[in-house]
């Protein structure tokens, strides 16, 4: 689960990381009021979950309440990389003297949390990493050990931070690691971490949490960002719905559709061990997606049983409100039983993924 900046900042604040004073708003009037309350120049920041917001024009500044209202109106009617802007964060505009970069991320290769920090923060950090990797301090934390504040200060010293700021910056690095570990994060990032006349503060905040750990953070289920998802479901631009059991097989099904000249309309992974009920829900989900002209259901059962799939298909088709042609590839555990059920119901099926994908594209082209 990715958090909006304002939610991430609330968590940072709770863990003791200084943040700018600010308010999350959903209308231009509220934005004006927030600017008035702050009583000084403000930054107005679009709250979206896509990256590259600043470069895409999602952050503006305003000198007073009236300005703020106008700027907010424009931002609230805009999209950033396809994501509609529905929330803004109105914050005091920081008087920036210097920008640092700090993050804690999951490093798949070493299988450890990786802290990265640089005295040259800001939007060009990825270019810096590519061109001057020596300017980024990297520090792996042993997942079985405690991470202590002195380690944060050592990282700060390696960044080139002097004595006057070493406790503040080192302390924030330590606290950011606490956020990462207490909240089961996959990424906790501050870019930029800014030095102002009032101290060191997190001007931005990115926090991505591990969906699999949400059961031990029940309070996070109240966040606006939280969605309980039964399927991995992504809508795409094409007209052939692709459903499969397992991410790899579903991705492969999409690739086969494309290789046969078609365009996938969905990626829907029903996962392992799907019941009749789950198949029904998945089919209804894509039938309800208007651009879908043909459905390609690709099942090679392992824990998923082909007879359960067949039963789900039969009831879903009988109850469907919109008739959409369905191409089924059904093999694997209990395939004889599943295929027999389909035959008896007069539903045809394929046993090869590639043949089935080709057929789905042919049907789609003939419509």
């Amino acid at each position: 689960m990715k958090l909006y900046e304002y939610s991430a900042k609330q968590i940072f604040k709770k863990e003791g990381i200084p943040i700018p004073e600010g308010y999350m708003v959903k209308s231009s009037e509220e934005a004006g009021k927030a600017a008035q309350k702050l009583g000084r120049a403000v930054a107005i920041k679009s709250q979206v979950l896509v990256g590259g917001r600043g470069k895409a024009g999602g952050i503006k500044f305003a000198d007073n309440s009236e300005d703020a209202q106008q700027v907010a109106q424009k931002l609230l009617s805009s999209h950033i990389k396809g994501e509609k802007v529905a929330r803004l964060l109105v914050e005091e505009k920081a008087n920036i003297q210097k920008e640092f970069y700090v993050s804690v991320a999951l490093d798949r290769t070493s299988k450890k949390p990786l802290i990265m920090a640089s005295a040259e923060g800001g939007v060009e950090i990825e270019e810096l990493a590519a061109n001057s990797p020596e300017k980024i301090v990297k520090y792996h934390v042993n997942p079985l050990d405690e991470f202590l504040p002195y380690e944060g200060r050592e990282i700060a010293r390696k960044m080139g931070v002097g004595s006057a700021l070493i406790s503040a910056v080192g302390g924030i690095i330590w606290k950011l690691f606490q956020v990462f570990s207490h909240y089961d994060a996959q990424l906790a990032e501050i870019n930029p971490l800014v030095v102002t006349d009032k101290g060191v503060i997190a001007a931005d905040a990115k926090l991505e949490l591990d969906d699999d750990s949400i059961y031990r953070h029940k309070e996070l289920m109240d966040l606006e960002e939280y969605q309980s998802e039964e399927f991995a479901f992504v809508k795409l631009d094409g007209d052939i719905a692709v459903i499969g059991n397992g991410a790899g097989l579903t991705l492969s099904g999409m690739d086969m559709i494309k290789l046969s000249g078609g365009e996938p309309a969905t990626f829907l992974d029903i996962g392992g061990g799907s019941s009749e009920e789950v198949i029904k829900k998945a089919l209804n989900l894509v039938i309800d997606h208007p651009p879908v002209k043909v459905i390609f259901l690709n099942v090679l059962g392992g824990i998923t049983r082909a007879d359960d799939v067949a039963r789900g298909v039969i009831t879903a088709l009988a109850e469907a409100e919109r008739k959409v042609p369905l191409v089924i590839r059904l093999t694997g555990t209990n395939e004889e039983e599943g295929q027999l059920l389909l035959k008896e119901a007069g539903i045809s099926f394929e046993t090869s993924m590639e043949d089935a994908a080709k057929k789905a594209v042919e049907i789609c082209n003939s419509l």
């Binding site: 804690v104 949390p113 990825e126 990115k206 790899g248 392992g272």
Partner: protein
Amino acid sequence: MIILDKNTKCLVQGITGKQGSFHTEQMLNYNTNIVAGVTPGRGGQTFGPLNVYDSIEEVKEEMDVNASIIFVPAPFAKDAAFESIKHLDLVVIITEHIPVQDSMQIMEYARQQGVTVVGPNTPGIISPGVGKLGIMPTHIFQEGNVGLVSRSGTLTYEFAHQISRAGMGQSTCVGIGGDPVVGLDFATVLQKFENDPGTESIVMIGEIGGNAEERAAEYIQDNISKPVFAYISGTTAPPGKRMGHAGAIIEGTSGTASSKIEALESAGVQVAQKPSQIVDMINKSK
């Protein structure tokens, strides 16, 4: 064959649960050497021909055992994994949805103890003719000399099926697991296949995300002499919406299907566009 062989004596953690009991029966039917079950609080019960114990320590006092397969639910999987890492040499974690910070701790402990972990979130491992520690449907596998290693469960089945139907078989199939943090990686499995006299060629199935395939390509270039064939799923997937910068800094441009295919091809690996091409590729290499 690799990892799972005639010397593997395995216990089942979570044997009395729904998944654990169903798949223990399947593993026994496939003649796998399963020697005991463990469920805390159920010591003294039996499961088919097996005794159930409260702890691994107890099993070890009574018999020879060196491996475990874990079916316990995600919230308790870390505890189960640490217990087996302490006492055994091989741990297969079938459980999915384990918090990734738990997985990092499991892998660090396994590294310290010198224990092999397969998974989590894996269909497991099968050496046709010897047994399976996993949940895969057995009828699509048969004895042979193709080594198969995959990140995806169902694509393992897809390729094993194609290979078996063509009259070839598999030495061992290893699902390394679909999670961001897993135990065995491609490179280690490739090395084991390279050293295995029963394996003549290797099929490696990857997917988009992370840089495991790129690292494997690097390893193959310098260390693998047997023919390797690969398939990468997700060529047509739209680029993921990456959030912060940290991922990009760690992984650079890797992660996309084209980055992986390019890396593998430049390491001399033939990459199939479709699963059905793999069999032809293997035949031509002979």
